[in-house]
């Protein structure tokens, strides 16, 4: 595992919402490193800034101050168009609510990132089919999201997140909408299919049952990183 290669580096990241007396500082100077080949979990109580931090790291929100580098690219100074293109090429997303397009079948859903990167429909669907088969949905390729269980939908989301071979995988509460057994299966699948030496996986979660899957755990509180722990050393304190 090439732990020395930095995938994400943030320094002094500050993000404030609102103005004047109603302003809320969600991030108060976050310094953080994530490396290629690791699955990093970001934990902390509600309102500690986990989601804001995740949004800043993946480039869906701009920080007010500080620097954010992802695979050597400074996201703070990228134009909106270049930032969108960067996300499309380098970042895969797994959302808590899956965010699958309900009127598209699962192959069409899973092929979206490739289509956004300019692949032909045929190539994109072939690759999506391969990945969906890999995550155990090979017999339900023409199914629509509403016809699948929560665990199956999250597997489609995993296939969609990986289909364009992103170097950074962002998972926002991937097991929050699932029961314990489905959550465990999803994390096993994620660990098996997503973790690669050239890829970094960042998972924001409240779910202590999945902590054993992490290589490192970053604990956040009040908009700052309170500590970084190795797997097995961390015990829930929130």
């Amino acid at each position: 595992m090439s732990m020395q290669t930095v995938a994400v580096r943030t320094s002094g990241v500050v993000k404030t919402f609102g103005e004047g007396e109603s302003a809320v500082q969600a991030l108060r100077g976050v310094d953080f490193d994530a490396h290629c080949g690791e699955m990093l979990m970001v934990v902390g109580p509600s309102g500690c800034g986990k989601t804001t931090f995740l949004s800043v790291v993946c480039g869906t929100m701009r920080a007010d101050e500080g620097s954010v580098e992802v695979f050597g690219t400074d996201l703070i100074h990228l134009s909106a168009g270049k930032l969108t293109a960067f996300r499309g090429k380098n970042v895969g997303f797994i959302f808590q609510q899956f965010n699958l397009i309900p009127t598209w079948n699962i192959v069409e859903n899973a092929s979206v990132p490739l289509l956004l990167n300019g692949a032909s429909k045929r190539d994109a669907e072939a690759e999506a089919t391969r990945l969906l088969t890999e995550v155990g949905l090979g017999k339900r390729l023409r199914a629509f999201p509403r016809e699948l269980s929560g665990g199956q939908q999250q597997r489609v989301a995993i296939a969609r997140a990986l289909v364009h071979q992103p170097r950074l995988l962002i998972c926002d509460e991937p097991t929050a909408s699932l029961d314990a057994a489905s959550g465990r299966k999803v994390m096993e699948l994620l660990k098996a299919s997503a973790c690669r030496p050239d890829r970094c996986v960042i998972v924001v979660t409240h779910d202590s049952r999945i902590f054993p899957f992490a290589d490192r755990i970053v604990e956040m509180g009040d908009g700052v990183v309170k500590g970084v722990h190795n797997a097995g050393e961390y015990h829930v304190s929130f």
Partner: protein
């Protein structure tokens, strides 16, 4: 996305169909009415119309002296000029019922201004004593006035039947087809001289002088020369039609009446589709933001939203204009209400539908453009 939301899809198509139907159907009837106002000009079909200087449209008659025919004939460039009588008068039908008619008196030598198409009889027979040619509307009116339990379809007026105009005999020698006019009365054709016998005598009786320019001179040039005759004016056929239609548009409530329904159709279209499309985008904002997070540009999302808007727009437009065509065919088969659907009406309705689609999707897109992709994490 939109196709999967059956309720909104149907609502949008329904709104745009009603909008398109209201616009095209109402404008079709309006254009039909405007066509009716100029039916006499097309039925008579003369290249140049000369009338009293105060006349503003074809149904407004200010009689002239017969000498004006000779004055027009004397103008350089006029190949021929003939008198035409046109007026509304009452006829007494064979069954004793009364019916208002549009009496058209043609030059007996040339029969210029003759009916466009004879369906029975011979137009030359107009030169026979007391002869008239009646149009298909006269048959319809007469049949409607002779309905009885024994003959529910009424009695058909035919060649050889006799009725009275101003207590004088009128013998039907032919049946013709003539375009129905705005005035709503049937056309009865006879000779100019006999028309003078039918109508009450006045000092001036001539309604129009019909003329034709020589082939080597433009009609507009001859019209300009005729206009130099004191107290008369002249129009080319096309100008007279335009002048007549403009008069009806300016001095009657017809455009306001039809225009308000068209505006209502546009408002219905904008209100229903705008609201429905906004709701559709609002409900799918999370999915659109997810696509944005995954690398979809604003331009691509706009393309997606516009494509969906225009596909429902085209469907609604097609259904609306299709329904209008079906209604129009039915109207034309029945003879009324008037109906005429020129391509300009279809183009106008298409442009309005495009505008509504742009407006409706534009409102939704503003929300998409403003949305930060980070909302997918909330």
């Amino acid at each position: 996305m939109l196709y999967g939301d059956v309720a909104k899809f149907i609502m949008l198509i329904g709104g745009l169909t009603v909008c398109s139907l209201l616009m095209t159907q109402q404008l079709g009837v309006f254009c039909g009415l405007m066509q009716w106002t100029t039916a006499t000009i097309r039925n008579v079909d003369a290249p140049i119309w000369v009338c009293d200087a105060k006349v503003e449209q074809v149904s407004e008659i200010v009689a002239m002296r017969d000498i004006e025919v000779n004055r027009v004939r004397s103008i350089e460039g006029v190949e021929w000029a003939v008198p035409l009588y046109w007026g509304i008068i009452q006829a007494r039908l064979p069954n004793g019922a009364f019916q208002q008619i549009q009496l058209t008196g043609l030059d007996s030598a040339t029969l210029i201004g003759r009916p466009p198409r004879m369906t029975s009889g011979n137009v030359e027979d107009l030169r026979l004593p007391n002869a008239v040619v009646v149009d298909q509307l006269m048959l319809k009116k007469y049949a409607s006035k002779t309905v009885s339990p024994q003959r529910p379809e009424g009695v058909t007026l035919k060649v050889g039947d006799v009725f009275e105009i101003n207590d004088k005999e009128a013998r039907v020698v032919g049946i013709c087809y003539a375009e129905q006019s705005f005035m709503g009365q049937p056309y009865i054709y006879t000779t100019y001289e006999r028309a003078m016998e039918y109508v009450p005598q006045q000092r001036k009786m001539l309604s129009f002088v019909l003329a034709k320019p020589r082939d080597d001179i433009a009609a507009a040039e001859v019209v300009a020369r005729i206009k130099k005759i004191p107290s008369v004016t002249a129009f080319t056929k096309e100008d007279f039609q335009e002048q007549t239609m403009n008069w009806y548009i300016k001095y009657t409530g017809i455009p306001i009446s039809f225009g308000s329904v068209v505006v209502l159709g546009i408002i219905v279209g904008i209100a229903i589709s705008g609201q429905t499309f906004y709701l559709f985008v609002h409900e799918n904002l999370r999915h659109l933001a997810a696509l944005k997070a995954m690398g979809a540009s604003n331009a691509l999302l706009a393309e997606m939203v516009f494509l969906q808007a225009f596909s429902v727009g085209i469907t609604g437009y097609g259904l609306g204009t299709g329904l209008t065509s079906i209604m129009g065919r039915r109207f034309m088969a029945l003879g009324e209400p008037p109906f005429y659907l020129p391509w300009q009406v279809l183009a106008f309705a298409g442009a309005v539908i495009v505008f509504i689609c742009l407006f409706a999707s534009g409102i939704g897109l503003l929300k998409v453009f403003r949305a930060e992709p980070a909302i997918v994490f909330r």
